[in-house]
């Protein structure tokens, strides 16, 4: 792993531009800060440096000083301190900024180096860009445009290597395209902690392979596809599905756990084709779990709910059901709802004077990017005041209330009551108003079902385990017969005699900013793409279930409580 940048700054000179960077920044990252691109393949900002691709060669120099007196040697021609350039180029990825370092990236020698490296990489490259899934986002393709010669001087036969080796259930290897940068190997070793990949054989026989008897099947294997600078590793799910240049990118948030990994949803004409991680150095670096990449399949699932009735008709019948059970209503909110939806759920609960329940979901945390709290937004429910203590996995209190006849109607906002411990007999005793995306036993038993949207079809915010407020945008439009959650909740609240609240996200945020002190400093529009850390002190006494994950350590006070 690259050492975290120390706060002391050093000044370096890159192509004549001076910039102060933290000591320990390498030349590629420093150059990026002044807008100079140093091409590279093997270097990745979140992995260790190996320096084997030789693409990032730059010229380095240090200001000349007298060896004895240490006095600066001036250049009479320019009147400035002379720079002693190292005669041979050095790799930028393994050179760290030091005070006074001079870097040249645009000289004839450097251009020569880059062209040479590109030519060597291309002699055995199959040049099958038309069938390669990486085309359009391939680093080799980009650098060949800049430093390739446009024709080949190689008259010998190209290497023949296996074209479709399955490294694991989700990753296919095309050995001919591999440029042996070892990014995937380092990722598996350093981040996924599952050291299964390696090179075997020497020279032009070198091949990427799995350790005998093992497969690249950890839950982070698809990150190797993302970081592969060429099309050697491809995803079985996305392979030959769509060219990347057709895809629209929408920033989103992974909903599979409270880590809240930042993602990009790639869609074309309302169809999502893949999900990839988005860099956020405070949350998920540049990684995400494989399981989160498949969540988009829920959008087009067979059991998706849709209704032919208008939203007005649905709300009217829901209001009828609830009015019949007045005074004996419970609301089951969700840790999967966005902050805005949870706020409206609370308002709805206030309007019908209902008690609010939330369902916890837990699973084993993997210590990387999946936490043990599998709800993305339990902290949002705390902030919006929907709940004031942590939820449990089973709705036993609610079940007791149903049995005793205290509760006659339940509003379920996206939760399946059966999986939370309510028996079918108990479901039969109550009338249910269900807001949900997919059919389940609760929607089957419900009197009124309002079909709502998945995270990909709406915009909103989640609060992750660090109390970081993160926003997601709408990637694809909803299909007919599905209704916006905010719209449905605000209409039902108004129909039940509650406050009239806006259903538009931006207007609703004005209300949120006014009513919730935790969100007073931001709005949806001004919220940065990397999220905003909220003040967690009001909830520091709660014992959250999460263990340690990437960039997250459970608060020390909790450790004390546990001890």
């Amino acid at each position: 792993m690259i050492q975290p940048a120390k706060p002391d700054l050093v000044t370096v000179n890159i192509d004549g531009k001076e910039i102060a960077v933290p000591k320990g920044t390498n030349v590629i990252d420093a150059a990026r800060q002044v807008g100079v691109d140093v091409p590279h393949y093997c270097y990745h900002p979140k992995l260790s440096v190996v320096g084997n691709c030789r693409m990032c060669l730059v010229e380095l120099g240090m200001p000349a000083v007298d060896p004895v007196s240490k006095a600066p040697i001036m250049d009479p021609a320019t009147g400035r301190q002379k720079v002693n350039w190292i005669p041979r180029p050095q790799i930028g990825c393994a050179t760290y900024a030091s005070q006074g370092l001079h870097i040249r990236t645009q000289t004839a020698q450097i251009k020569d180096c880059r062209e040479g490296v590109t030519e060597f990489l291309l002699i055995n490259h199959p040049l099958d860009c038309p069938i390669c899934d990486k085309a359009g986002e391939c680093m080799l393709q980009e650098q060949s445009t800049g430093y390739g010669r446009g024709y080949s001087r190689f008259i010998e036969n190209k290497n023949v290597k296996p074209k479709r080796t399955l490294l694991g259930p989700r990753v296919v290897l095309d050995d001919e395209r591999c440029i042996l940068c070892s990014r995937c190997i380092r990722f598996c070793k350093e981040v996924a902690k599952d050291d299964v990949l390696g090179f075997i054989d020497r020279g032009s026989y070198s091949t990427l392979t799995c350790y005998p008897g093992k497969a690249l099947e950890n839950n982070y294997s698809l990150n190797t596809v993302d970081i592969c600078p060429v099309g050697a590793l491809t995803s079985t799910d996305f392979r030959f599905k769509m060219r990347v240049w057709f895809l629209k990118q929408t920033n989103s948030i992974d909903t599979e756990s409270s880590v809240g990994a930042n993602t990009v949803v790639w869609s074309r004409e309302g169809v999502i084709h893949r999900i990839t991680p988005r860099r956020n150095d405070e949350v998920n670096d540049t990684w995400m779990a494989d399981s989160g990449r498949l969540l988009y399949k829920a959008v087009g699932a067979e059991n998706r709910l849709a209704s032919k009735e208008t939203l007005d008709a649905l709300i009217a019948s829901a209001a009828d059901v609830l009015t019949d059970a007045e005074g004996a209503i419970a609301v089951v909110g969700s840790g999967r709802s966005s902050v805005e939806e949870q706020f409206l759920t609370r308002k709805l609960a206030d309007a019908v004077k209902a008690r609010v329940f939330l369902v916890a979901r837990s699973g084993a945390g993997d210590g990387i990017l999946i936490s043990s709290d599998r709800n993305p937004n339990v902290r949002g429910a705390l902030i919006t005041g929907l709940i004031d203590k942590l939820p449990s996995e089973r709705l036993d209190t609610l079940a007791g209330g149903i049995d005793s006849g205290e509760i006659k109607a339940v509003i379920s906002v996206g939760e399946d009551l059966t999986s939370a411990g309510i028996t079918p007999e108990q479901l039969g005793k109550i009338s249910i108003v269900h807001f949900g995306t997919h059919a389940n036993s609760t929607s089957d038993a419900a009197k009124v079902v309002v079909p709502t949207l998945t995270v990909f079809e709406k915009a909103g915010t989640f609060v992750n385990q660090q109390f970081r407020l993160q926003k997601f945008a709408k990637a694809v439009p909803a299909k007919p017969g599905m209704h916006d959650d905010l719209d449905a909740l605000s209409r039902l609240t108004a129909a039940m005699g509650g406050a009239s609240l806006p259903s538009d996200l931006h207007e609703l945020w004005e209300v949120l900013t006014k009513e919730l002190p935790a969100l007073a400093t931001t709005t949806y529009r001004t919220l940065p793409e990397t999220g905003l850390l909220l003040d967690a002190t009001p909830w520091s006494g709660l014992r959250f279930p999460e263990g340690e994950t990437l960039h997250f350590k459970p608060a020390a006070s909790e450790e004390g409580v546990k001890a």
């Binding site: 069938i131 479709r164 030959f240 060219r243 240049w245």
Partner: protein
């Protein structure tokens, strides 16, 4: 705007008889009656199509019957009126063209949208899409005017190939399997 007074001269005697106009008009008519015809009796007679004519875009196969398109979707990308729609797919591993790996599952060109610009032919890295000499596409419904993959290959047929790039690839693979160049 300035007003320009137009001088309206009275007609001369010859003009008032209309004879010069009638004679000059009839002379054109008589000349055309005896001159060779410049029109064609379409559709019985068909025009001569020049070699570089840009007619209906079609898909072609190589001389061995392999479909040349690998569904790279560059034509779909470059098409100005968005007439092309491709669904990519893979070639199963047991096919004799398995070494090509990728082929279109579906390929549609909407001839109601096509403007015969030829950019698809120009951009194709596999020389799989060609604008042929056919110029007349008709149909009774909109659906009929969308050429699907099967129809595109019917229209396109086979074109000679100078490169045989994929065949050479297969030969190299076979040579490597027998211990040639690795």
């Amino acid at each position: 705007m300035a007003i320009i007074p137009v001088d309206r001269r009275p007609l001369s005697f010859a003009e008032r008889t209309y004879l010069p106009q009638i004679i000059s008009g009839l002379s054109t008519t008589w000349k055309r009656l005896v001159a060779p015809k410049e029109t064609l009796e379409y559709p019985e007679q068909r025009p001569e199509i020049p070699a570089n004519y840009r007619g209906v875009p079609t898909l072609v196969k190589d001389p061995h019957g392999r479909e040349k398109c690998v569904s790279c979707q560059l034509c779909e990308f470059v098409c100005p009126p968005k007439a092309i729609r491709i669904t990519p797919g893979d070639i199963p591993a047991d096919s004799e063209n398995a070494h090509v790996e990728k082929a279109p599952k579906e390929f549609e060109i909407d001839m109601l949208r096509c403007i015969f610009c030829g950019l698809c032919q120009e951009v194709c890295p596999e020389e799989a899409i060609w604008l042929q000499k056919q110029y007349s596409m008709t149909g009774y419904t909109r659906a009929e005017m969308v050429n699907d993959k099967q129809r595109l290959y019917e229209l396109g047929g086979t074109l000679p190939d100078d490169h045989f790039k994929w065949d050479r690839k297969k030969e190299a693979e076979e040579a490597a399997a027998q211990g040639g160049h690795h």
